[in-house]
C-alpha cells in the first residue's frame, strides 16, 4: 500500500492554546479518510497546517514521502493537494468556468509577456485549459451554467463548483471541509455518491471533515476523531461507533456511562 499523506506528531499552538496536539495520521492512497470531532476540536486548523497556511511548531507533514512543512500554500497546491471550504468561498464575481480556470492556475505556465504577445504556446495552453474546465464542469454536472457568475448559482451548484475548482489543479489529495453543510437529505446522498466518484473515477485520495454522521459512516474507510486538538481514536466506522471515548467527547462524560440507555432509545 502506498501512503499518500502522513503527519508525524503534528502540533500547532496559538499562544498558550494547543489547537492541534501531536496528531499522527497515515492516509492510504486512494482511500476516503474522515476527520471528525466536536466544534473547535482543531479540524480546520489541522487542514491549514497541511495546506501551508499555518506552520506547525512541532512535527512533520509528509506527502508521498516529501515534507510539506515550510512550503507556502501555492507550493503545496503545486505538489498536488487541493481543498474546499466549510463556508463556500468561490470567486463570486467571476463566471463558473473562470473559477475553474483559476483552479488550473498552477498547471498552466504562461507569463505576462507571453500573454501580451499571444505566443502560440500560450494560445494552445489557454485553449486546452478551457477545454479541461468544460470537462470538469461536465463532471460535476454543471453543463450550461459555465458562463453564469458564481454568486448567481444555486447553493448545491456552488458546492459542486467549488469542488470542480479544486479539481482544476489536478490534485492527488483533495481536502473537503464539510461538503454537505446546509444540504437536505437528498442533496447529501447525491454528494456522497459524488465523493465516491471522485475517488473511483479520478483516483483521488479524499480527506474529509464532516459533521453529518450518515456521510461519515457511509463513505469513509477510516475515521480519526479529534478532541481538543488531540487524536482520541482512529479506526473503521464500526470501531469508532462503539468507542466510548468518542461518545464521551461528543456527548459528555455523563452520557458515556449511560451509553446502554441511549443505545436502546430511538434517535
Amino acid at each position: 500500500m502506498i501512503i499518500a499523506l502522513e503527519t508525524k506528531s503534528l502540533t500547532k499552538q496559538f499562544g498558550g492554546l494547543t489547537a492541534v496536539d501531536s496528531v499522527d495520521l497515515t492516509i492510504q492512497e486512494n482511500s476516503i479518510f474522515s476527520v471528525i470531532g466536536p466544534n473547535g476540536a482543531g479540524k480546520t486548523t489541522f487542514y491549514n497546517c497541511i495546506t501551508g497556511f499555518y506552520t506547525p511548531e512541532v512535527g512533520d507533514v509528509l506527502f508521498y514521502g516529501k515534507s510539506l512543512v515550510g512550503l507556502t500554500p501555492d507550493q503545496v497546491t503545486y505538489q498536488g493537494i487541493s481543498r474546499t471550504y466549510q463556508n463556500i468561498r468561490l470567486f463570486a464575481n467571476m463566471s463558473a468556468i473562470e473559477n475553474i480556470l483559476v483552479g488550473e492556475h498552477s498547471r498552466i505556465k504562461g507569463s505576462w509577456v507571453e500573454a501580451i504577445l499571444h505566443t502560440p504556446r500560450v494560445v494552445k495552453e489557454e485553449k486546452q485549459a478551457v477545454v479541461r474546465a468544460r470537462e470538469l464542469l461536465n463532471f460535476v454536472g454543471l453543463v450550461g451554467l459555465g458562463d453564469q457568475l458564481a454568486r448567481n448559482l444555486p447553493y448545491g451548484a456552488q458546492r459542486r463548483l467549488e469542488i470542480a475548482r479544486a479539481l482544476g489543479s489536478q490534485p492527488r489529495l483533495l481536502l473537503l471541509d464539510e461538503p454537505t453543510a446546509g444540504m437536505n437529505p437528498h442533496e447529501t446522498t447525491e454528494m456522497m455518491h459524488f465523493i465516491r466518484r471522485l475517488r473511483d473515477e479520478l483516483r483521488i485520495t479524499i480527506l474529509l471533515i464532516e459533521h453529518d454522521m450518515r456521510v461519515v459512516m457511509g463513505i469513509s474507510e477510516r475515521i480519526a476523531v479529534l478532541d481538543y486538538g488531540a487524536k482520541i481514536a482512529e479506526g473503521t466506522p464500526a470501531e469508532i461507533q462503539g468507542n466510548p471515548r468518542v461518545i464521551e467527547a461528543y456527548l459528555g462524560s455523563g452520557a458515556a456511562s449511560g451509553l446502554n440507555d441511549a443505545a436502546t432509545q430511538p434517535a
Binding site: F53, R89, F91, S106
Partner: protein, 528 residues
C-alpha cells in the same frame, strides 16, 4: 392606479427640485442663450411683449415640463396594456406638482426682489434682471400663477405625447415594433452573415479609429488640449484599473508614478537644470521603466498590507514624491517649486511636434497600445489570478497563486502605464512642476475607475470622458459647474452603482462549443 399616482407625484417633486436647482444656479437664464447658440436663433421672435431671451428660456422650460409629464405618466413595470386615462392623469399630476413647486419659487424670489433684498450676495446668479426675466416682467403673483399653469399644461401634454391618443398607445406599439424590426433585421441572411463574421467587427473598429484620428484636425487648439488630457487620464485610468479594478489593491498614491514618468522625461530632455537634452524617444522608455521599478520597490514592502492599510501607505508615498520635488534639497537637481521648463518634444523624420494635433495622435497611439495590452492581460492566466486575488486573497493562495509576485506584477505594470502617461504629459505641456502632482490627481484617477466601472476597459474610457470632459463642457456655468458635476456624479452612482459600463464576463462555455462544432448544451438547473 394608486401606484400611478405615486409615480406621478414623485416625478413632479423630482422635476420641481431639479428646475429650482437649475434656476438657483442660473442655468435657466443661460439655457436660453445655450438654445439660441444651438439653433442660431439669437433673435427669436419677440411676441406678446416677451424678449427673445424669455422665449428661449420658456422653450427650455417647456422641454423640462414635457419630460416631467411623460416621466410621471410612464408605464409601470409588467403592465401589458396601457390605458390612456391613468397616463394622462399621471402627466397632469406630475405637471401640477412641478408647477406648484416652481410657482412657489417664483413667488418667493419675486417678493424678495420687490423688497430689494440683495439675493445675489448669497446666490451669485440671481441678479435682479434675471429674476425679472424669470417672472416674465410681471408681478410675483402673476409669475407664480403663470408657472403653475405652464407646467400643468406641459406636464399634461407630456403625458399625452408619450402615450398618444386613440386605440393603441405609442409606447406599446413602439416597444413591440422596435424589437420586431430589430429581430427581423438580424434574421436577414446577408446581415446574419456579416454579423457572424468576425472580420466585420474589425471593419467597425477600423472605421471608428479613422474617425477618432480625424478629430484633432477639426478640433481647435483648446479642444485638442482637452482631448489630450482626457486620453492621458485614459492611460492613467487603465493603469490604475489593473491595480484597483483587477487586483483589488487600493492605491491612493498613484500620482507618484505619474510624477516619476513626467520628471524623467523633463530632466532627460530639458536644457535646465540637468542639461542632458536626450531625445524624447530615449527618455520615454526610461520613464516607463523607472516608474515600473519604483512600483516594484514600493510594492515589495507594502503589499503584505491589505485594504485600508495599503491605501494609507500608498497615499503617504504619493505625498512624499510631491514634497521631495518641492524640497530645497532637490531644487538644484529637479528645479524645486519652480518646476522644469522647455521640456523636449518628439521629432519624427525631422518633423518636430508643435501643433496640438500631433500630440493628440501620439497620445491616441499610446492609449490604443495600452488598451491592447490591458485586454490581453485581462483575459490571460495572469489577469484571472489578479481577479481571483481581488475576490478572495486567501482562497487564491490555496488555488496555487503566488499572491506576492502577482501583486508586484500588477503594481509594476500599473506604474509603468502611469509613467508612460506622465512622460507624454510633461512633453506635451513642455513644462512640469510639483503642482501637477497633487493628491487630487490620484483621487481623480480613482474616480475615473470607479465611475467608469471597475475592471472594465470601455468603462475606464467612458469614465475619463465623463470626469475630465464634462467639466469642460459645463464651463458655461463657471463656478457652479463643480456643483452640477457633483450632482451628476451622485445621480450616476445612484443609477449605475457598478459604473457607467460595468465589466462583463467573457462567454467562454458557448464560445468553445462553436469552435468544436458541438451544438449548444441544453440549459439545466437554472433556478435562482
Amino acid at each position: 392606479m394608486k401606484k400611478q399616482f405615486r409615480f406621478a407625484w414623485s416625478a413632479g417633486v423630482t422635476f420641481g427640485i431639479v428646475t429650482i436647482f437649475l434656476f438657483l444656479i442660473g442655468f435657466t437664464s443661460t439655457s436660453g442663450d445655450l438654445l439660441a447658440d444651438l439653433f442660431g436663433n439669437k433673435n427669436a421672435a419677440s411676441f406678446l411683449g416677451l424678449t427673445p431671451q424669455m422665449v428661449n428660456m420658456l422653450i427650455f422650460l417647456a422641454l423640462v415640463g414635457l419630460w416631467a409629464g411623460s416621466y410621471g405618466s410612464r408605464k409601470m413595470k409588467g403592465q401589458t396594456e396601457d390605458p390612456w386615462a391613468p397616463a394622462l392623469v399621471g402627466g397632469l399630476i406630475a405637471g401640477l406638482v412641478h408647477g406648484i413647486l416652481v410657482g412657489l419659487l417664483a413667488l418667493l424670489v419675486g417678493i424678495l426682489n420687490l423688497h430689494h433684498l440683495p439675493i445675489n450676495m448669497y446666490l451669485a446668479a440671481l441678479l435682479p434682471p434675471v429674476i425679472t426675466m424669470f417672472l416674465l416682467g410681471g408681478s410675483p403673483i402673476q409669475g407664480a400663477i403663470f408657472y403653475l399653469v405652464f407646467f400643468t399644461l406641459t406636464g399634461f401634454l407630456g403625458g399625452l405625447l408619450s402615450r398618444g391618443v386613440g386605440r393603441g398607445s405609442w409606447r406599446g406599439r413602439a416597444s413591440g415594433n422596435w424589437k420586431n424590426t430589430w429581430d427581423g433585421f438580424n434574421q436577414k441572411p446577408l446581415i446574419k452573415q456579416v454579423r457572424g463574421n468576425p472580420a466585420s467587427r474589425y471593419v467597425v473598429y477600423g472605421v471608428l479609429l479613422v474617425l477618432l484620428f480625424l478629430v484633432p484636425l477639426v478640433a481647435g487648439q483648446y479642444w485638442n488640449y482637452t482631448i489630450g488630457t482626457i486620453f492621458i487620464y485614459v492611460l492613467l485610468g487603465l493603469g490604475l484599473n489593473i491595480v484597483v479594478g483587477l487586483a483589488g489593491l487600493l492605491d491612493l498614491g498613484y500620482v507618484a508614478f505619474f510624477a516619476i514618468g513626467a520628471y524623467t522625461m523633463a530632466l532627460l530632455t530639458a536644457p535646465a537644470p540637468q542639461h542632458i537634452m536626450w531625445s524624447f524617444w530615449i527618455a520615454l522608455p526610461i520613464g516607463v521603466v523607472l516608474a515600473a521599478l519604483t512600483g516594484l520597490l514600493l510594492g515589495a514592502p507594502v503589499l503584505r498590507l491589505r485594504g485600508d492599510y495599503l491605501a494609507i501607505v500608498t497615499l503617504g508615498f504619493g505625498e512624499i514624491i510631491r514634497l521631495l520635488s518641492t524640497s530645497d534639497a532637490m531644487t538644484s537637481f529637479s528645479g524645486g517649486p519652480k518646476g522644469v521648463p522647455s521640456i523636449g518634444g518628439p521629432i519624427i523624420f525631422g518633423h518636430p511636434f508643435n501643433s496640438g494635433a500631433d500630440y493628440v495622435w501620439l497620445i491616441f497611439l499610446a492609449a490604443i497600445l495600452i488598451i491592447f495590452v490591458t485586454n490581453r492581460l485581462q483575459n490571460s492566466r495572469v489577469g484571472r489570478a489578479w481577479e481571483a486575488m481581488r475576490e478572495d486573497e486567501t482562497v487564491s493562495r490555496a488555488m496555487g497563486i503566488n499572491t506576492l509576485t502577482q501583486k508586484l506584477m500588477a503594481f509594476a505594470i500599473g506604474a509603468a502605464f502611469a509613467g508612460l502617461g506622465g512622460a507624454l504629459f510633461a512633453s506635451r505641456n513642455q513644462f512640469t512642476g510639483p503642482e501637477d502632482f497633487t493628491f487630487m490627481v490620484s483621487v481623480n484617477v480613482v474616480a475615473v475607475v470607479i465611475v467608469g466601472g471597475m475592471g472594465s476597459i470601455p468603462g475606464v474610457i467612458a469614465g475619463a470622458l465623463v470626469l475630465k470632459g464634462l467639466p469642460e463642457v459645463l464651463r458655461e456655468l463657471q463656478d457652479y459647474r463643480v456643483l452640477v458635476f457633483g450632482a451628476l456624479l451622485v445621480v450616476m452612482m445612484l443609477w449605475r452603482p457598478a459604473g457607467i459600463i460595468p465589466s462583463s464576463r467573457r462567454k467562454m462555455e458557448v464560445e468553445v462549443e462553436k469552435d468544436t462544432g458541438v451544438t449548444e448544451p441544453p440549459k439545466e438547473g437554472g433556478e435562482k
